[in-house]
């Protein structure tokens, strides 16, 4: 196929060519960035929590009466004992917060008491000896808490934390040489050291904000029962296959223990799958929205190409007829329009790539998204070229069927 005559013909309808090319460029730029956002969100949503999420649920008990801290502490102990007795329940634990929860307690962690710049930030889970078992998180070094270690604590009444368990990612940040076990850190706000007695496998923090991504896997477990906040989260592992039964049994058992409590009708009791869905709601939404926009964009661009090429074919019926009469085959005509579209597409892609990078750079400064990877541009370019070729096929085929006799007809 000769390109020169195509270029010469394009010069005769510059505006249309530029408009189509510009449309392809814009589509490429937007679709690349949209796909990139989708990819980022999917990557975020599919990161592991470290928790064995099946058969796990959470029930939040708000205390209805203004009971003393001692009473609440006793109530939590009694609740847990009763829950662990249930046939449908494998294990249960009380926590102040949990992975994916979004709200919770985080503390700066320091290596020395008088350090001014924090070493890192970490979620603080007030846990007990059943926490790891209930969450299904493995201990990869050291020991679990003993029942005697677990004390009660009000959020304002801080005691030292002599023994803590840390997540493996936090251990690595604090002690890059891998010798965290047995070392001392300063994690509580009072200036007493905490000894790392155990290290867990991957364990996500409660923090869901993208600003906190650097701390997303930092977690410290402290052997404390939190009282004085007006509520407690019980995380409960049902026996395999008995999740529904356990979710029926547990509220009844808790009410039987004490009536003075409130379960929020909306999110008082949630399976961990629901916790996950809620935590990533925005990310799913954004991915779906970007998906819809991409599909609509591609459809409109394809339709635009069909429309404009059809017009060009109609306009040039006579010329096509002449070419056919002079010996051009149907294939020649077909490939003429295909090549023309390919040329416009490539021009659009060059401009579109620059635009895509520009938009991405702008979003990097405005919204803190990451840099677009070249893969997206490549995939986007191929998709748009194929889309263009697909769209132009029907009008090009119609053009190739223009009979040579058309040359002899006047308009």
């Amino acid at each position: 196929m000769q390109i020169k005559p195509i270029l010469a013909a394009m010069r005769r309808h510059k505006a249309g060519t530029i408009l189509i090319g510009f449309q392809i460029a814009l589509t490429l730029a937007i679709v690349c960035n949209a796909l990139f956002i989708i990819h980022e969100r999917i990557a975020r949503v599919s990161r592991p929590s470290g928790v064995t999420e099946s058969n796990l649920f959470v029930i939040t008990s708000d205390w209805a009466d203004n009971s003393s801290n001692n009473n609440i502490d006793a109530q939590i102990k009694a609740d847990l004992a009763a829950l662990r007795q249930l046939g449908s329940v494998q294990d249960a634990t009380a926590l102040n917060s949990f992975p994916l929860h979004g709200a919770g307690w985080d503390n700066y962690v320091r290596m020395k008491p008088d350090q001014i710049h924090m070493t890192t930030d970490s979620a603080v889970y007030l846990a007990d000896d059943h926490t790891l078992g209930t969450l299904g998180v493995k201990l990869i070094a050291g020991r679990n808490f003993t029942p005697d270690e677990v004390q009660s604590l009000t959020i304002q009444d801080m005691k030292g934390w002599p023994a803590v368990i840390v997540s493996k990612d936090l251990a690595k940040v604090l002690f890059p040489n891998g010798d965290a076990l047995g070392k001392e850190i300063y994690a509580s706000n009072n200036n007493t050291p905490s000894t790392i007695v155990g290290i867990t496998d991957t364990l996500q923090s409660h923090m869901m904000d993208s600003d906190d991504n650097a701390y997303a896997y930092n977690a410290i477990l402290v052997p404390m029962r939190e009282v004085g906040t007006g509520y407690v989260h019980y995380l409960i592992r049902a026996r395999p296959g008995q999740l529904a039964a356990a979710m029926r049994d547990v509220p009844k058992t808790l009410i039987a223990q004490s009536r003075m409590r409130i379960f929020d009708p909306d999110d008082g009791e949630m399976t961990f799958a629901q916790v996950r869905a809620k935590a990533y709601e925005r990310d799913y939404g954004m991915a779906i929205l970007m998906g819809i926009v991409s599909v609509v964009l591609l459809a409109i661009t394809a339709a635009g190409i069909v429309g404009l090429t059809s017009f060009w074919v109609g306009q040039r019926r006579r010329q096509i007829g002449i070419r056919r009469a002079l010996g051009a085959t149907r294939n020649d005509i077909l490939s003429y329009f295909m090549t023309e579209n390919m040329l416009i597409g490539m021009g659009g892609i060059v401009v579109g790539t620059l635009l895509a990078i520009g938009i991405n750079l702008w979003m990097v400064t405005q919204y803190g998204v990451t840099r677009l990877s070249g893969m997206y541009l490549l995939v986007g370019a191929v998709v748009l070229l194929l889309l263009g070729q697909g769209a132009v096929l029907a009008p090009a085929l119609r053009a190739s069927r223009v009979p040579p006799v058309e040359a002899t007809r006047s308009v």
Binding site: L19, Q23, L26, I37, D65, G228, T229, G285
Partner: protein, 440 residues
């Protein structure tokens, strides 16, 4: 003449229904996507109290100094206040209106003993909170300044809670059991649920599905030990224990807002804040230079990143989609108009001036725009209804189709399409009549 052009345009559009439909669809989708995302953006980034936002200010005092920022890069003082400073500022009473506030979540025992106790959200505030924020009342009013000082057991409840507990009747003067103590109902709000919860974004994050059901006097809440249900941030551990220990500590957990009507008042208040700071510094509390802030409400909402950036990104992407749709329409209109070159040639040869050609083709573009706008309106309505599928509840419920959005949708569609039609029309008007007539 316009009627004639409309007639011509409709005929022309009917001649190529596929192309016409394509243009209408493109405009419809582009406008709907933009308008739907705009409705969400408008909802989250709008001014919650436009008639007064420039008079409402949030003071910040740098009680922690550089150490409290733990090496963070910005020089922002803590976003909330500790108890002692909040109370000192209230006592000084330097603004027209002011209120310290903290988030509470007490349990309420319904007067109908058959009902289960319920947990409600709310704030402990001062009496000036209500006039400062122009809070509307259905029944009764806020409490008095003397109720503040005497820490009276009074409460203002939401219309929603009033509906739930008293069936919507005027409950002013009745008692309500909150955390086991009786409170006299002073007022019932008239459906007041500002979004974002601008008076306390620190503890609510701005957008939340939680409802503000009760407001009790600040002093009262402190006296009965109604604990703080919002965020507590500490630079060091409280020395005392419990809620009292928190009040004596430098932990920050109290939101604060003041109303300052004139520029001079703002300057005077800033001076007062800085003066207060220096006083405390001389008393040996601080060792770092003055670093206070006094931002008005719009600036404060911006600093706190109350509007989620996702909604802005969506709007930008949707506007991109609209531009593509317009470029697409421009291309198709160009093709359509130039196809009629001979018709234009005849009209011009018979004496039609260029402006007549302009009017004729812009009318055609306008009709496509109106049709696209009507389709866009329908799709926007569908879009606004279905944002609940892709956005969290607390934001999705704020997006709504109202009259201004309706008008805007139509205007955007028509103006955008006419803009897209400008170049094709200009090209059509340049058609040389002689050339067209000759080729026939």
């Amino acid at each position: 003449m316009l009627g004639y052009y409309i007639d011509l345009a409709v005929r022309s559009l009917k001649r190529s229904p596929g192309l016409t439909m394509l243009m209408v669809l493109a405009i419809g989708f582009g406008v709907a996507a933009s308008m739907t995302t705009y409705s969400v953006f408008r909802a989250v980034s709008g001014d919650p109290i436009p008639w007064k936002s420039s008079k409402l200010f949030v003071p910040q005092i740098d009680v922690w100094g550089p150490k409290g920022r733990q090496g963070g890069s910005d020089n922002e003082p803590p976003e909330a206040m500790d108890y002692n400073d909040a109370v000192a500022l209230m006592r000084a009473h330097r603004a027209k209106y002011q209120s310290a506030m903290y988030h509470i979540s007490p349990s309420v025992i319904p007067p109908d003993r058959g009902m289960h106790p319920i947990n409600v959200g709310g704030h402990a505030v001062y009496s000036e909170f209500f006039p400062m924020l122009d809070v509307p009342f259905q029944y009764g009013s806020g409490w008095s300044a003397s109720d503040d000082t005497q820490s009276a057991a009074v409460v203002v409840i939401s219309s929603k809670l009033n509906q739930k507990l008293f069936g919507g009747a005027n409950s002013v003067g009745k008692t309500l059991d909150i955390e086991g103590k009786d409170y006299r109902i002073a007022g019932v709000l008239d459906n007041w649920a500002p979004k974002p919860v601008f008076f306390d974004v620190v503890n609510t994050g701005g957008f939340t599905t939680d409802f503000e059901d009760v407001f009790v006097p600040f002093r009262r809440a402190i006296d009965v030990g109604m604990t703080n249900d919002g965020n507590t941030n500490c630079d060091e551990m409280p020395k005392g224990s419990g809620f009292v220990g928190l009040q004596q500590s430098t932990c920050v957990w109290i939101a604060y807002m003041v109303e300052l009507d004139e520029k001079a008042d703002v300057a005077a208040y800033k001076d007062y804040l800085d003066g207060y700071y220096r006083e405390q510094k001389e008393a040996g509390r601080f060792s770092w230079p003055v670093n206070n802030r006094l931002r008005d409400l719009p600036a404060w909402l911006k600093v706190e990143h109350v509007a989620p950036s996702d909604t802005q990104v969506s709007l930008v992407v949707a506007l991109g989609l609209l531009i593509v749709c317009l470029v697409n329409t421009a291309g198709l209109l160009l093709a359509k108009f130039l196809r009629r070159s001979s018709e234009i040639g005849v009209r011009r040869a018979l004496g039609a001036p260029r402006t007549a050609i302009y009017t004729q083709f812009l009318t055609e573009a306008g009709i496509v725009g109106t049709a696209g706008g009507l389709l866009g309106l329908l799709l926007t309505w569908v879009g606004v209804k279905s944002v609940t599928w892709v956005l969290p509840k607390e934001i999705a419920t704020l997006a709504r189709m109202d009259f201004s959005l309706l008008i805007l949708t139509l205007i955007v569609a028509v103006i955008a399409t006419v803009l897209a039609g400008l170049y094709p029309t200009w090209r059509a008007s340049r058609v040389q009549p002689a050339l067209q007539l000759k080729s026939n």
